[in-house]
């Protein structure tokens, strides 16, 4: 049994290729079902985001599994297999596990440490669970990947700092106000970045938003979009009193927010702090404003500075995160290897249990007229002896399997306890034991 990952990401394919191969959420259950029909695919999961499309599977034979998945992708998207070859990468076994953990921990993301990927992976897992296309191995893989990602997040600072302008704005606002609950933001002008920053602030607890624009209609439009209120452009210096955060992005070639207006507004709001973000170029807020007490002015370069120093910090944290991933991969691989011992252990237990029952019957046949209590004592004795004898070999098998994946050891153990021939003959002769369990290929 081996784990494989076939896919493509922002690292191997441009967006137009990723688009073609993506699985929109609505299609995922159907795709999982289709994938199930391919030969040798035991378990499967599809992760499709705007930056990556990846298919995870557990298969009997990795070479065949990879071929089957590639075939599925080209069939499903009706693309020639050759056209895929260039952008698809393949990871198998330990590499596949490592890849999964790195993706979950956001180490493989375009913006390292971005938090969305873990949620997307959880969703993908959820879909697969609903479609019942995963079982023991992928379930364990995904659970471990998710818990490792959480470990990475708590033990490193990888996700702590903001690496986009709009998140940097939220972070700074938190540094000034703490909880953003109940704060008011004022959007002066429009523009993609300003709107994004406003949206992030709203998502992080900001209560209300005021929008103002030179063209009032545009302000009304935006206000509706944000569920806020529109303010006439001429009124903004007085309305500014209400704003805890001011995002400014107008196309004006001069200062729109002036020193006097700000210092007046501050007096009127009893010197409660104002956080001003000037995204416009050329700047629209007089830089002198930053010298006023309780006013914190950040222009686009300041925010970029915050972001770039944060990115640097993340790189360092990513190294620590990689170490955690290495540890977690090792524990997963140990678990996976220990599965190899399971058939041998099951056979061993069955065999000794058969012997015990058989010998017990013989002995009890000879002991006539013993009481129930005595009978129980003899039974308990037999169980205890058998359990004690097999305990040590079982522990060793499990441990060795986890540590080394030593095939020879299982062969040797089977020989030592005579599991292969004896077991079956025994069961046949006596007709005891659960016959359904000794399916071929167990050893």
């Amino acid at each position: 049994m081996s784990i494989i990952v076939v896919g493509l990401s922002h690292k191997t394919a441009p967006v137009d290729v990723r688009e073609k191969l993506s699985f929109p959420e609505a299609m995922v259950p159907d795709a999982l079902k289709a994938l199930k029909g391919y030969e040798g695919i035991k378990e499967s999961l599809i992760l499709s985001t705007c930056n990556r499309v990846e298919l995870y599977a557990s298969v009997n034979d990795s070479g065949m599994g990879v071929a089957q998945i590639k075939k599925f992708i080209s069939d499903y998207h009706k693309l020639s297999p050759e056209s895929l070859e260039q952008s698809l990468y393949v990871r198998t076994d330990a590499e596949a596990v490592r890849h999964t953990f790195r993706v979950a921990s956001s180490l493989d993301s375009m913006v390292v440490g971005e938090p969305q990927i873990l949620g997307q992976l959880k969703d993908a897992f959820e879909f697969a669970l609903k479609a019942k296309t995963t079982s023991a191995i992928l379930n364990k893989l995904l659970k471990k990947a998710i818990s490792s990602a959480k470990r990475v997040r708590t033990e490193t600072k990888i996700a702590e700092s903001a690496v986009s302008i709009s998140f940097a704005a939220v972070e700074l606002a938190r540094k000034i106000f703490g909880d953003l609950e109940g704060k008011t933001v004022m959007l002066l002008g429009a523009g993609e970045m300003a709107e994004l920053a406003a949206r992030h602030l709203l998502n992080n607890g900001v209560k209300s938003i005021m929008v103002t624009n030179r063209t009032f209609e545009r302000a009304v439009e935006l206000a509706k979009e944000f569920n806020g209120s529109a303010v006439h452009f001429d009124d903004f210096p007085t309305e500014m009193v209400m704003a805890d955060i001011l995002i400014c992005s107008t196309g004006a070639p001069h200062y729109v927010v002036k020193h006097d207006a700000v210092s007046r507004a501050l007096k009127d709001r009893h010197h409660k702090p104002i956080f001003m973000i000037d995204i416009s170029v050329p700047r629209n807020i007089d830089p002198e404003v930053n010298k006023i007490d309780n006013v914190y002015l950040y222009d686009i370069d300041d925010l970029k500075g915050v972001v770039s120093s944060n990115i640097e910090g993340r790189q360092k944290e990513a190294e620590k995160a990689e170490e955690i991933v290495v540890q977690e991969v090792e524990t997963f691989l140990q678990w996976e290897r220990s599965l190899d011992a399971v058939p041998t252990i099951v056979d061993l237990r069955e065999k000794v249990e058969d012997i015990r029952k058989c010998e017990l019957e013989k002995a009890l046949g000879q002991l006539n007229g013993i009481s129930d209590g005595q009978r129980n004592a003899v039974e308990a004795l037999s169980t205890a002896i058998v359990n004690k004898i097999v305990h040590a070999p079982i522990v060793v098998l499990k441990q060795e399997a986890a540590d080394t994946a030593n095939e020879e050891l299982f062969k040797f153990a089977r020989k030592l306890f005579n599991l292969d021939k004896e077991l079956k003959r025994h069961i046949h002769e006596k007709g005891i034991g659960s016959s359904g369990k000794d399916e071929p290929g167990r050893g």
Partner: protein, 260 residues
């Protein structure tokens, strides 16, 4: 000693924020330190048969204990580990002079033996401890405020709570400490009347306390008028400097009744 360890733990935490466990251990350390301190305090009390606050050594000990108590309560309530990194070093700085002066138990003048002694000093010390807390928070506020304005982040920037939280905490501490301090002055004055027959005699300690009291009163008044932030933090630091002066300098000047 335990305080020293705890302070070291907190400083390590603020330098390396991954040491969350160290910070938690430091909190426990500070709590244990406080209990030991309290035990020592009680021991001295039972040895001397009076509340041990009558000489310089004892007074500093008592103040240190008060500060740690305020710190423990605030830390427990607000969970701002960075507080410890500032508060405990302050306590240690306080305790150093205590270690250098004689710790032996002295007899006090019978005229001062009174239940008022405990009430007056406890109130004053709790007030001072609250001011010390406000002082620390104000320093933290100013550090963060300056970094936010200058757009340059120091190593501890991330560990500091938000400006608004620190501003509010500082104000709360003062509005809690000031009434206690006021009561401390009133009880002291009543006691003075009993002991010396006069409510107020302008001895240096009394004068400085009055200055301190007025400073914080002005601060509270300005606050209700809408002052906040940097200026408040400055004023709170000034107020605490007066506390320090009256505690460490005035007490050593050999004039008046508050000599230790």
């Amino acid at each position: 000693m335990v305080y020293l360890l705890s302070a070291a733990g907190y400083i390590a935490y603020i330098i390396n924020p991954e040491l969350k466990k160290t910070a938690r251990a430091s909190f426990a350390g500070a709590a244990i330190g406080f209990l030991l301190h309290l035990a020592y305090f009680s021991f001295r009390w039972s040895e001397s048969g009076r509340i041990p606050v009558t000489n310089f050594f004892e007074a500093i000990n008592f103040l240190g204990m008060g500060i740690v108590l305020v710190f423990l309560v605030m830390e427990f309530r607000y969970r701002i580990a960075a507080l410890g990194s500032f508060m405990l070093p302050l306590v240690i700085i306080f305790m150093i002079p205590a270690a250098t002066v004689s710790g032996k138990i002295e007899e006090i003048k019978p005229i001062l033996r009174s239940g008022w002694l405990g009430v007056h000093t406890t109130l004053a010390v709790l007030g001072d401890a609250a001011f010390a807390f406000a002082f620390i928070v104000s320093i933290m506020y100013l550090i963060q405020e300056r970094q936010l304005k200058a757009k340059q982040w120091g190593a501890i920037f991330r560990r500091l709570p938000s400006l608004e939280v620190m501003d509010t905490l500082g104000y709360k501490a003062i509005s809690f400490g000031w009434p206690l301090f006021t009561l401390g002055m009133i009880t002291g004055s009543i006691w003075a009347e009993i002991a010396w027959g006069t409510y107020w005699s302008w001895d240096p300690k009394e004068t400085w306390s009055l200055i301190t009291w007025v400073t914080y009163l002005v601060l509270l008044h300005l606050r209700t008028m809408g002052w906040r932030g940097r200026k408040m933090a400055f004023l709170s630091i000034v107020g605490f400097v007066f506390v320090l002066v009256s505690f460490f300098v005035v007490s050593r000047v050999p004039v008046g009744k508050h000599i230790f």
